[in-house]
């Protein structure tokens, strides 16, 4: 028995000593970093802060991004059901018909992308505030934060204002603010930082001019946001840009949208895209017919969906060269040979011809509808993204803000002068057509509102009754497919009062989107927007 005990004792000792050395369960990842690995080097800080800018690419052209959110609920662009799909559970139809709810994907995408960026912004602002010799970096980031809040103000209104930079405070839950509070926050932040901000134009970065554009936009839409007009304040902001910014209109409108558009003198604030280094800009694939791959030598077939609403196209002057932002008519391969339809068996031997006429949101043929070609499509792209930068604010926008404010203040002729300036490059063949008068700007819109199906107006509402409708038309020509339209339609009172294509008005509360459901689920402090 004694031997047994000793043997067991020795064995147990052996076992225990072995085991105790093997109970360490800490993790040390090798292909990702944890918060402990980050440190505080300038390189790491720059890399950590960089998403505040790079997020803009995703915000704009990530799937169901900002572009879609602003355009697909408008009277310019629609994504109708086609033979190759695009029903997608009704998400595009809901955008067109204004029947979205808190589950709608596009507003949800904007919310999450913006708040992710805000999170990083707040943290970066906190970090840089505690450091010395960072120049105007803190102000730059605060202005950028105000820009993001402007997107939220415009699309959701009642959002939580969060400036908390300590992300370790897990118990903290944001409270919902009113639209007026968000307005006030953006205004006070920008007024505070603008005097300090750099005037230097570093491509793609926030500076004094970009910050003034944000503030001008906020004032321009103040009547919508807070029920007060702020025309003079808006003019004050753009006047500084016009006088001191050193910007000018490109002589060629198209120069703003070419692949190498970073040298444009018209760009005030641009989102920097690159086919391989940023990705996301796959709008050409979303709009073009698959056969158009041969036209642009694309390395992957387009998916063929979004197109122009015919009623908008009808408002153009036929000599307006800005009509060329729409890809239309018979289509040819890069070698000049025709390209064909491919979805309808009866049409496969018929050359692809993008027609103005479309069916309706529920049924549109593969060839129907003008396609969005505002941004030049680079030949021979191998992936499915293009490298054109996206001017979020350009000089023409500053001019048109001034013109609109003047018009609304009763200075129609002064406004007309500016509008004429902006129009001139679009009518190089017939300069007389560029001139508009103050009286004309006070007319209604040429847009023939009403429901439409396959070339036939089912109901007619017209646009004559829209105050300054002609100015709205001008905004359309200049900024079509530049994610302007939703905001402009709301400001001109059209968004929830007129019909176009299959769309009919569906409630005044549609001027803001509902708070996304996943956000409501996660934060009990938030509630639905009014009317939802």
């Amino acid at each position: 028995m004694k031997t047994l005990n000793r043997k067991i004792f020795i064995a147990s000792f052996f076992l225990l000593s072995f085991i105790c050395s093997c109970t360490d369960l800490d993790e040390t990842p090798t292909d990702v970093l944890t918060d402990k690995d980050l440190g505080n080097s300038p390189e790491i800080l720059q890399a950590l802060t960089a998403p505040v800018y790079t997020s803009l690419t995703n915000v704009m052209f990530g799937w169901h991004g900002f572009f879609d959110l602003q355009e697909e609920c408008s009277d310019i662009i629609v994504t109708p059901a086609r033979p190759n799909g695009w029903v997608d559970g009704g998400t595009y139809k809901a955008m067109h018909m204004h029947t979205w709810n808190s589950f709608q994907s596009q507003p949800g995408a904007l919310w999450s992308r913006v708040y992710n960026a805000l999170n990083i912004l707040n943290s970066a602002i906190g970090t840089y505030e505690s450091m010395e010799d960072v120049g105007t970096l803190v102000e730059e980031l605060r202005a950028l934060r105000a820009f993001y809040y402007y997107l939220l103000l415009d699309n959701f209104g009642n959002v939580p204002i969060v400036t908390e930079d300590d992300l370790s405070k897990k118990d903290f839950l944001p409270e919902q603010n009113t639209r007026a509070e968000v307005f006030g926050f953006i205004e006070s932040e920008l007024l505070e930082v603008i005097p300090v901000l750099s005037e230097e134009k570093v491509y793609g970065k926030m500076n004094k001019w970009a910050a003034r554009m944000v503030l001008a936009k906020v004032y321009l839409n103040a009547s919508v946001y807070i029920g007060q007009t702020k025309w003079d304040q808006a003019i004050e902001q753009v006047d500084d840009i016009i006088t001191n910014g050193g910007f000018q209109l490109e002589s060629n409108y198209q120069s703003n949208f070419i692949v190498e558009n970073e040298n444009s003198d018209e760009q005030i604030f641009s989102i920097v895209f690159d086919a391989t280094r940023s990705g996301w800009f796959h709008y050409p694939w979303k709009t073009l017919h698959p056969s158009s791959a041969a036209t642009y030598d694309l390395g992957s077939q387009p998916w063929g969906g979004s197109c122009a609403i015919p009623q908008f196209i009808d408002t153009y002057d036929e000599d307006d060269s800005r009509l060329n932002i729409w890809i239309r008519g018979l289509q040819f391969a890069s070698d000049g040979s025709p390209v064909y339809n491919s979805m309808d068996p009866a049409l496969v031997n018929v050359q692809l011809n993008y027609t103005k006429q479309i069916g309706n949101v529920d049924e549109t043929q593969e060839y129907e509808g003008y396609r969005v070609g505002k941004f030049e499509i680079e030949r021979g792209v191998t992936g499915n993204a293009i490298s054109n930068d996206v001017p979020f604010f350009r000089y023409a926008d500053a001019l048109m803000i001034k013109a609109e404010c003047l018009l609304r203040k009763g200075q129609a002729d002064a406004a007309a002068e500016i509008v004429t300036t902006v129009r001139q490059r679009a009518f190089s063949t017939d300069p007389d057509k560029a001139t508009v008068t103050g009286a004309a700007l006070q007319e209604g819109s040429k847009y023939n509102y009403g429901t439409y199906k396959a070339g036939v107006m089912l109901t007619t509402e017209g646009g004559d009754d829209i105050q300054y409708g002609r100015f709205l038309d001008e905004l359309g020509y200049e900024f079509a497919a530049e994610f302007h339209r939703r905001q402009d339609l709301i400001r001109f009172g059209v968004f929830t009062s007129k019909s176009w294509l299959t769309h009919v008005p569906n409630g005044d509360h549609r001027t803001i989107f509902d708070i996304p459901q996943s956000v409501l689920d996660a934060n009990p402090n938030l509630s639905h927007n009014p009317g939802y």
Binding site: D26, T34, D35, A50, G89, S112, E164, Q517, D521
Partner: protein, 990 residues
């Protein structure tokens, strides 16, 4: 050969014995003997040991032995597994004939219960053992298929006909939302999968069904455990060589009925299809991409041993062509096992090596889809010999060019090295240390030539891919095992420690634009795309690791073979758990009462055995990848920041921290009844279980800020599975010539999602969507909702067609709206969706038969799944005359007297009942008479047919579709169709 072998062994044994005897230096006496069985047949391989020494021999093939003993006082101990041990004093006899009688108690079966075995009569948990003679015979792709229909509550389905397809395993229902529901598969105690070893190398498969059985495996036990025990040598076994082999061929048991060229021309003549659709040729695209496969399998094993050294080796080779050209599978596996007693009864060592090689085929669902939808009047090649392509048509590619213009090499290998040492310091106590390393690696290389669509249409000019992945898993187990019987008491105890670490790493390169096709993927640096930084070219590498450490113990107590008690506990921690929740405790307790041993039943002769079992256990599962509990940042591989002059890397948060992240828990109660009646002719098992699955992992929406990311992975959801399993074995006929055994397995499972929230993590809406139709329909297919079972189809309920006012005879879908009203599908909103069925079978039944008549034997396996629905993707996508591509012949069948004019839609019309009854396997074998053969101890030939017939109302190819994950019942349109297999095989024992 055999004679030579035996003689040689005999001579060797003689010399060994002579040497031993010489060393001992005793006076010698030679004894000749023979050992006979109860039926007076010579017994080979019987151990003969000189008592008190390690000297001994074994009987030859005729049961004869020769041994030299010191003198007449010598005692011989004669023993054989399953027989009583006999002792003989030699005396003056020179010829000893011994008759061994079967030992009833030692013959009793033993089941494997994890870190040990248990006498079947002592079992208190829900364990089912399947032995090789019960396995599904014929051509099986992996060990999992051996069990099909054999274990109540264990469903195994291979919904694909791909020769390298794995098997989907579910035990007692879906057990997780985010994670896997698949049971743990252990091979001789170590993590493996159904494909790790040869199906012919298996001694037994034991399925630990309830948590009281699997709790000893802690955080790996939640979904049940399947223990595979390989064939081992036994002490005193004459060398046995076995060969098994077969050749087999396959065919699709059903094909999707797409229009052929004739159908197209008929429709053109009818004016239904535009004449331009006829391109002049006649091509059967499915015929073009498929073939008549020949599959074969060979397995050779060798086992043998003395009382001190035992060895076993198994080598297998299998090759299957697969129905689709290119979908090959080739496997080679070698396992060797060697056990040696350094000091008999004191110190034992074991060495085990497993090597596996596998070459996979290149079946691609996309290629199959292209063959289905391609115009049957189109030619394969044009006059100049180039593949016919139509680059302008969306997602439309010549399937033959996809196969022929692609090089595809994909191979894996695995090596398992295991060594163990057991020390027996006193009787009945075993101290054991086992170390094992499992390495797995994969190499893939592909190349698409300049004639591939990737160049013809997309201008890639040759695309190459090279990828490598490797895993290493290290194991260390220390156990102390004690068993003792005294009087009517039996006790057993186990203490152990287990350590596992796991590393996963790999890399890949994609490049294109090559100067020539000659290099294939073997000179990947020659592609220009990577140099030029073009989209679509890239490199990546990764690495992750985890650790799992457990302490465990088990005690068993039995009294008078009547009352049995078993309790176990495991305390286990994983690196994958959050810092505040690293360790968990997993206890279990179970008890058995053999009622038939009670006095009040002793007079009831009809009842041979009756036992009641109850068990409770708590098990866990790790459903998260490494590092999930940490706040993580990653440098983006696709996004860079333009800082005004340069593009620089960006760091993005990818996960919120969750220090509470832990295991998913199963709390399970099991009550079971085992019985055997009417002279043991009828026996069976009934089990009822109640599983409460808690702490299930889900991605919870959390506010941003303060969080970095809008979801946090956390343990908060709860689900239940309740069910009944009945297994019944009947020896219907048993006579000398004729024998018929039949077996039924029935299982029923009720699943319910109880909650998605706990106090900390909540979802306002108690549902979410899962499953996806894919484009162009782009809708979710399933709704996972609290209070309902997982697997509910959710979409529009179609009620018929509405005639199009513009096109008489054509109609679009009418659906039932949220308030019961009927409306056109164009007006449908998300709120009109409703529950349309459930994709998980409610109950399963299997019926196995085994018939023996003279030298013939026959087995018939049948099984079915009932009360569930299948979403027929092929009909949803292709039974529609509006699509441009080829379509099912049934597309023009009238619905409500109208031709469908709606675009492809997800509506209830395509959801069908999936109930089926399959004649899964029929095997007929012939056993040659043993006494008439010289070379073989055993010889059997058989023919087998698998997947012979399916009785079902389902219109698709096979209603047995995927049952795992959150979208069960989706019959994917690109799924490799299942096949019917015919096999001719032999089993030979030398």
């Amino acid at each position: 050969m055999r004679e030579f072998f035996t003689k040689k062994m005999f001579r060797l044994a003689f010399w060994v014995l002579t040497l031993i005897a010489a060393k001992n230096g005793y006076a010698q006496q030679t004894v000749n003997g023979s050992v006979l069985s109860e039926t007076n047949e010579g017994m080979p391989g019987v151990n003969i040991v000189l008592k008190g020494t390690t000297n001994g021999t074994t009987t030859d093939v005729d049961g004869k032995f020769v041994i030299t003993v010191p003198g007449p006082e010598s005692v011989l101990v004669i023993s054989f597994v399953g027989y009583g041990t006999e002792e003989f004093t030699v005396g003056n006899q020179s010829q000893i004939d011994v008759r061994l009688t079967p030992d009833i108690s030692s013959l009793q079966e033993v089941v494997v219960i994890g870190y040990g075995t248990q006498r079947k009569q002592d079992v208190t948990t829900a364990v089912t053992q399947v032995k090789p003679n019960e396995f599904v015979p014929g051509a099986v792709r992996n060990a999992g298929e051996l069990l099909r229909g054999k274990v109540a509550g264990l469903t195994l389905s291979t919904s694909s006909g791909d020769p390298d397809a794995g098997v989907e395993i579910l035990l007692r229902g879906i057990t997780s939302i985010y994670g896997s529901s698949a049971p743990l598969v252990l091979i001789d105690g170590y993590t493996g999968d159904m494909n790790s070893i040869s199906p012919n190398d298996i001694e037994s498969i034991d399925v630990l069904k309830d948590a009281s059985a699997s709790a000893i495996y802690g955080t790996r036990g939640k979904n049940g455990v399947i223990l595979i025990t390989t064939k081992k040598a036994k002490a005193g076994l004459q060398p046995v060589v076995e060969y098994s082999g077969y050749v087999a061929t396959e065919s699709f048991n059903r094909k999707a009925d797409f229009m052929d060229a004739g159908d197209v021309r008929t429709r053109i003549a009818e004016g239904v299809i535009d004449p331009s659709y006829d391109l002049g040729a006649t091509t059967d695209w499915m015929d073009e991409i498929t073939r008549k496969p020949v599959n074969h399998f060979h397995n050779i094993s060798l086992r043998g041993g003395t009382s001190l050294t035992q060895y076993a080796a198994n080598v297998s080779y299998q090759k299957a062509d697969g129905m689709f050209i290119g979908s090959n599978n080739e496997e080679f596996k070698l396992r060797m096992d060697l056990t040696h007693y350094i000091i008999e009864d004191k110190l034992k060592v074991n060495f085990n090596v497993l090597k596996g090689l596998q070459k996979y085929g290149s079946f691609n669902g996309w290629t199959y889809r292209q063959a289905l939808i391609r115009n049957p009047t189109d030619a394969v090649k044009d006059e100049s010999g180039d593949w016919v392509e139509h680059g302008d048509q969306f997602q439309y590619e010549n399937p033959l060019s996809l196969i022929k213009e692609q090089v595809y090499d994909d191979k894996s290998q695995w090596t398992w090295l295991t060594g163990s040492m057991s020390y027996f310091p006193v009787d009945n106590l075993e101290l054991k240390i086992v170390g094992s390393q499992h390495q797995w690696s994969n190499e893939t290389g592909t190349y698409q030539t300049k004639k591939h669509i990737s160049n013809v249409r997309d201008g890639r000019n040759g695309v190459a891919y090279v990828g490598n992945g490797a895993t290493t898993e290290n194991f260390l187990d220390l156990t102390a095992d004690y068993t003792k019987s005294f009087g009517l008491h039996r006790i057993s105890g186990l203490l152990g420690y287990s350590y596992i670490d796991y590393t996963n790493s790999g890399s890949s390169i994609t490049n294109f634009n090559f100067p020539t096709d000659n290099f294939s993927y073997h000179s990947i640096e020659q592609g220009r795309a990577l140099r030029e930084g073009l989209a679509g070219a890239g490199v990546d590498s990764y690495k992750s690791d985890w650790k799992l450490i457990g302490f465990f113990g088990r005690v068993g107590y039995g009294f008078n073979d009547k009352y049995n008690l078993l309790a176990s506990v495991r305390y286990e921690g994983s690196s994958r758990f959050g810092n505040d929740n690293k360790w968990g405790l997993f206890p279990s307790v179970s008890a058995g009462w053999t009622i038939s041993k009670e006095g009040f039943l002793s007079d009831v002769t009809a009842i041979n055995m009756l036992k009641l079992r109850v068990g409770y256990g708590r098990t866990g599962s790790i459903s998260t990848d490494p590092y999930q509990s940490l706040t993580r940042y990653a440098y983006s591989a696709s996004q860079f920041y333009f800082n005004g002059t340069d593009w620089v890397s960006i760091l993005q948060p990818v996960a919120n921290t969750n220090p509470d992240l832990g295991w998913e828990t199963n709390i399970e109660y099991n009550i079971g009844l085992d019985f055997s009646i009417v002279d043991n002719r009828v026996s069976g098992t009934i089990d009822y279980y109640d599983r409460k699955l808690e702490d299930l992992v889900f991605d919870y929406p959390v506010p941003v800020p303060p969080n970095l990311i809008s979801t946090t992975r956390a343990n908060a959801a709860t689900m239940t599975n309740k069910g009944v399993e009945i297994s019944l074995n009947i020896i219907a006929v048993k006579s000398d010539k004729f024998e018929w055994t039949t077996n039924f397995n029935y299982s029923l499972n009720k699943n319910k999602l109880k909650s998605l929230s706990n106090e900390k993590f909540k979802v306002e809406n108690d549902f979410f969507y899962a499953g996806y139709t894919g484009d162009p329909i782009q809708m979710t297919t399933h709704k996972i909702e609290v209070g309902k079972a997982i697997g509910s189809f959710y979409g529009y309920k179609s009620v018929g067609l509405e005639e199009d006012p513009d096109n008489a005879g054509e109609g679009t879908w009418l659906i039932q709206g949220a308030n019961g009203e009927v409306k056109p599908i164009a007006d449908a909103t998300e709120d009109d969706r409703q529950i349309l069925g459930n994709g998980l079978p409610q109950w399963y039944l299997a019926w196995n038969n085994y018939v023996k008549y003279g030298n013939f034997d026959m087995s018939i396996t049948m099984r079915g799944a009932f009360d569930y629905q299948v979403l027929n993707f092929q009909r949803m996508f292709y039974e529609n005359p509006t699509i441009v591509y080829n379509r099912l012949s049934t597309s023009y069948d009238k619905i409500d007297g109208l031709t469908l004019a709606s675009p492809q839609s997800y509506v209830s019309y395509y959801i069908e009942d999936g109930d089926f009854w399959k004649i899964d396997n029929v095997t007929i074998g012939y056993n040659f008479n043993r006494d008439k053969m010289k070379t073989f101890k055993n010889a059997r030939v058989y023919i087998a047919g698998s997947n012979l017939a399916t009785i079902t109302g389902y219109k698709g190819i096979d209603p047995e579709v995927t049952r795992t994950g959150l979208a069960p019942g989706n019959d994917d349109r690109d799924k490799y169709p299942t096949t019917r297999t015919f096999t001719l095989g032999v089993n030979l024992t030398f």
